[in-house]
């Protein structure tokens, strides 16, 4: 049963991620991304990580991709792109090369870690699985006890970036007249959202 769920979800994830890369229309690409995220949420469910599955949907599918779509719609980039010209010379060859290297690294990592998991005793993993706490408690414990400083630092970092974005867009709005600065205006709107 778990294997069947995994196969179906993995197919959805793969199809979705291919769609993200291959779709010509940015909105279709964003929708494929939603498909991928959904498949991953079900994979989390399959591992009994309910909380992660819910958060995956709420945060990624519900907020981040919505913002992508929002920006795509506001900026009006939802047209087919001309891809016959290469913007940076050698970009494509380099992209293929880097992609292959990344794929190779990932594959090696999977092979190595599978071997490692098979070697270590199953006791370590099952000790975690048989703990009576729900996975919400587990995550809360890790996040707010073990890694609380990293967590707080991330919060500060995000706040700084938000404040920075607001400050930068506001200064532009004061110096320039909004009517004749169409592109500038649209970038303001996007970052304010």
């Amino acid at each position: 049963m778990e294997a069947a769920v995994f196969i179906v979800c993995a197919a959805i994830v793969l199809a979705g991620s291919l769609g993200v890369v291959l779709a010509r229309n940015p909105v279709h690409a964003a929708l494929s991304l939603v498909g991928t995220l959904f498949g991953m949420a079900v994979l989390f469910l399959n591992l009994e990580a309910h909380f992660l599955a819910a958060v995956q949907i709420i945060v990624y599918a519900g907020a981040i991709v919505v913002l992508f779509l929002f920006v795509i719609m506001l900026l009006g980039v939802d047209r087919l792109e001309d891809i016959s010209v290469e913007p940076i010379f050698g970009q494509r060859v380099l992209a293929i090369f880097v992609g292959l290297v990344g794929f190779g690294l990932g594959a090696t990592y999977i092979v190595v870690s599978v071997a490692e998991v098979q070697n270590t005793s199953a006791g370590v993993a099952s000790a975690y699985l048989t703990r009576p706490l729900s996975n919400l408690h587990e995550i809360a414990e890790v996040l707010f006890f073990d890694y609380v400083y990293a967590f707080e630092a991330t919060a500060v970092l995000l706040t700084i970036s938000v404040v920075g974005a607001v400050v930068m867009t506001r200064r532009m709005a004061r110096n320039q007249q909004p009517e004749n600065q169409l592109t500038n205006q649209s970038s303001n709107t996007a970052s304010e959202d």
Binding site: E2, E48, A54, I58, A63, D78, R174
Partner: protein
């Protein structure tokens, strides 16, 4: 293996404790079919109820010809829509255009799955016995119950957003940009007011939340009313119902995001809209009014819970219609101000207050002192917020830039 599947998909329901056999599958199917039929029927009646009630409030008669008191009016409208020509605009994105109504409808259906509609919550944990099996009167009780509701309501944004975009037309696009901004903003207030409930009940499972409230220990007064008010306002905005119905502001946007839709696809949007109203009312009842909890006044054990749930549900449906009949639509900047500058700070502050009060109780500190200190700290923070808002208001005036969303959106499109 089978046990694990039951646990994963249907959660903590005692039905699946003994493994999943033919009986369990049958009972689950029965629950799904009943919930599905119930929702469809109640949408039909809700549309009639809303039209009838609003016409009473406006001193009109309303639907009166189809059936007794016009109760079959919705059915007649549905049949009419079914036989209309299905138009797909030339400039639309055909695939997404066809997909969007379903993206609206499916989340609306799914949310209802986690709502406990009955059961004995006067001391019991809501179990009822169907055909000799113990189970809950809800389709599923996943361990993340209430997060599932949030997840579905955040997916509902896609239906509206893509419908507007794929129509390839100006007004629907504007409406969908408005709608998605509105729904994403109010989701924050919705989530924050919900956290207060979770703090009190200590669980995400809807069944657990209702059990915690059993015998008059309703979250409505356990969380001191404010989260409920915030939740109700945010839910109204999330549902795009008046006075927050800027999405389909007829005077400005023709018909809103579904202007280009006709026939069955339009009917699906309509269905989703009213179904969302019903499920959101059910969620409010579950979270704040103790769900099916209430004094037992029938001889059949499970009936009283279902009746109490229905009575409370009707109360909120009435309130939603009442809103629509009495409140004028607010402006877009007012909408954003209300959401970001009032509801979110208030619900966050209230959550802090509740948490401090609880901690004081746990540690045996003087509760009054803790509340006073918390209030002082929060007053300071509120002062900072007001200062920040003032500073934000000053600058755009020098640059003669009016911050209304619509103007920016029209420049771009």
């Amino acid at each position: 293996m089978t046990l694990s599947l039951g646990h994963v998909v249907f959660g903590l329901d005692p039905l699946y404790l003994g493994g999943v056999g033919l009986d369990e599958v049958f009972i689950t199917l029965l629950k799904v079919v009943v919930a599905f039929g119930l929702l469809l029927m109640s949408v039909m009646l809700m549309i009639w109820f809303e039209r009838k009630l609003i016409s009473d409030m406006q001193n009109r008669i309303g639907p009166s010809l189809a059936g007794p008191f016009g109760v079959f009016q919705t059915l007649a409208d549905g049949i009419k829509l079914f036989f209309k020509e299905d138009l797909i605009p030339e400039r639309s994105d055909r695939l997404v255009f066809k997909l969007a109504p379903y993206l609206s409808l499916v989340p609306a259906f799914l949310v209802f799955a986690v709502v406990p509609v009955g059961g004995d919550f006067n001391g019991g944990d809501g179990r009822v016995t169907i055909f000799g099996h113990d189970t809950f009167l809800q389709v599923a009780d996943p361990p993340v119950g209430i997060l599932f509701v949030l997840a579905m309501s955040s997916l509902a944004v896609y239906g509206v957003m893509l419908a507007g975009w794929s129509s390839g037309s100006k007004y629907p696009l504007l409406a969908s940009v408005r709608a998605s901004a509105q729904m994403v903003s109010y989701e924050a207030a919705l989530g924050l007011s919900l956290v207060a409930v979770l703090l009190k009940s200590g669980s995400l499972s809807t069944n657990q939340i209702v059990s915690e409230q059993s015998v008059w220990n309703w979250n409505l007064w356990v969380t001191w009313l404010v989260p409920m008010v915030v939740f109700l306002i945010a839910a109204t905005a999330e549902l795009n119902r008046p006075p927050f119905d800027l999405v389909e502001a007829e005077q400005e946007l023709v018909g809103g995001f579904h202007t280009e839709y006709s026939s069955l696809r339009f009917a699906l949007f309509f269905l989703a809209e009213f179904m969302n109203t019903i499920t959101m009312s059910a969620i409010i009842v579950t979270l704040f009014l103790g769900g099916p909890n209430g004094p037992d006044f029938t001889t059949v054990g499970w009936l009283s819970g279902v009746l109490w749930f229905f009575i409370k549900l009707m109360l909120f449906l009435f309130i939603f219609v009442w809103f629509r009949a009495t409140l004028p639509r607010i402006r877009y900047d007012q909408l954003m101000d209300l959401g970001w500058k009032l509801l979110i700070p208030v619900s966050l502050g209230w959550l802090m207050l509740l948490a401090c009060y609880d901690i004081a109780g746990d540690r045996g500190w003087n509760r009054a002192a803790v509340v006073v200190v918390t209030l002082v700290v929060m007053a300071g923070l509120a002062g900072l917020l007001v200062l920040a808002l003032r500073a934000a208001k000053q600058k755009p005036k020098d640059a003669h830039d009016d911050t209304s969303y619509e103007r920016k959106a029209t420049w771009v499109t």
